[in-house]
Assembly symmetry: C2
Homo-oligomer: 220 residues x 2
């Protein structure tokens, strides 16, 4: 009998880095940043806490590594031929994207959830409420409060539109990459499209069950 069982295994730097990153990714995906201590990550990975700093520096750096890796979604290779009419190409693109997203569902949601991984659930809830209020207000604004039936789905679509509003205003005010006129154009035409063409189609699908019987035929 020789060599007592080693108390810990010695790994290649890249190997160890990878392992720690895996654990960190899992934990940051479950809880907000502040509620994941480096001690937790170290325990999860079965290493000393100091090793995290040795490989990643600050806790924040490790976090940024995790965010970056999550944003690099796996299969982002184009596999859609660019043939046919513009509408066909657009529809195929969206189709493909929805498929991709559907498979990576949970991960994707964690990534786009307001502001990266580990977003605070309480903060998200507050933002969600404000978004919903804004959506209702928009519907009122346009005098579309009558149809109370599928009101929830109308609001859902307007809430989605809210995402367009936010991002385009950011382009305009913060980055200056869009002029006010261009922002106006984008938001007006989009809202008009939604209100005039898409919301009516929503009503047609009625509300029975969640079994929308395949009706992707657009207006014209």
């Amino acid at each position: 009998m020789s060599a007592l069982a080693p108390r810990w295994k010695r790994l290649e730097p890249d190997e160890r880095r990878q392992q720690i990153l895996d654990c960190a990714m899992r934990l940051f995906g479950e809880r907000p940043y502040a509620e994941v201590s480096t001690t937790d990550i170290a325990k999860e990975a079965g290493v000393a806490r100091g090793l995290l700093n040795h490989y990643f520096g600050q806790k924040r750096d490790l976090y940024l590594k995790v965010v970056k890796r999550m944003l690099l979604m796996p299969g982002i290779e184009k596999s859609v031929p660019m043939t046919g009419t513009l509408r066909e190409r657009v529809e195929r693109s969206v189709e493909w994207y929805l498929d991709t997203v559907a498979t990576h569902g949970k991960t994707y949601l964690a990534v786009i959830g307001s502001g990266g991984i580990g977003a605070d659930p309480d903060v998200e809830r507050i933002i969600a409420e404000a978004d919903d209020v804004a959506a209702s207000r928009t519907l009122e604004f346009l005098g579309l409060k009558a149809e109370v039936g599928n009101d929830s789905r109308q609001r859902a679509m307007i809430r989605s539109y809210g995402g367009l509003v936010k991002s385009s205003i950011r382009e305009w005010l913060r980055d200056g990459t869009l002029s006010r006129e261009e922002t106006h154009l984008l938001l007006s035409e989009s809202l008009l499209l939604i209100v005039r063409d898409l919301l009516p189609q929503l009503a047609r699908t009625a509300t029975p069950g969640r079994a929308t019987p395949a009706k992707p035929r657009p207006p014209k």
Copy 2:
């Protein structure tokens, strides 16, 4: 000579709460959550740190109060008459909203910046890069890579579209408020509108100066 100058002033609870909230709002607007210590806020307000806990409980609670207050944008009263055609009403709504946003500019940006106040600049940068990559990929996807001239503005508009994509997918996958078909409809028609009708108008404005000479006439 009597009564030495008091070392601190005694305020009404509501008054003090307000004052602390003001300071907290300012600081959280400048730096991310983790980089604002309760000590900073207390120092800014000229009070003892313990007083924050007395009035707001946890640091997180104070933060949520700040977020909630920022989301309750000041002038959100309807002041736009609902007369005229649908297009007119839509354009007037957008117009009014852009005006409102423009006045509260900085505050509004802080609010909608990825996930509430105090979002981490580094995280935002990483997300911004990923969004830009996605936008470029979308343009490639549709075979619109030719016009390199105002490519930056095209990408800006597609990046905005990315906001719509994110929020609608969240409605679909996370909240289940939209079916896949409805999501597909919304995203396809919107993208088609942008690519077919709006991007060409963008090209027409050329790139000279930032002085877009008023041209809000939409396609038809």
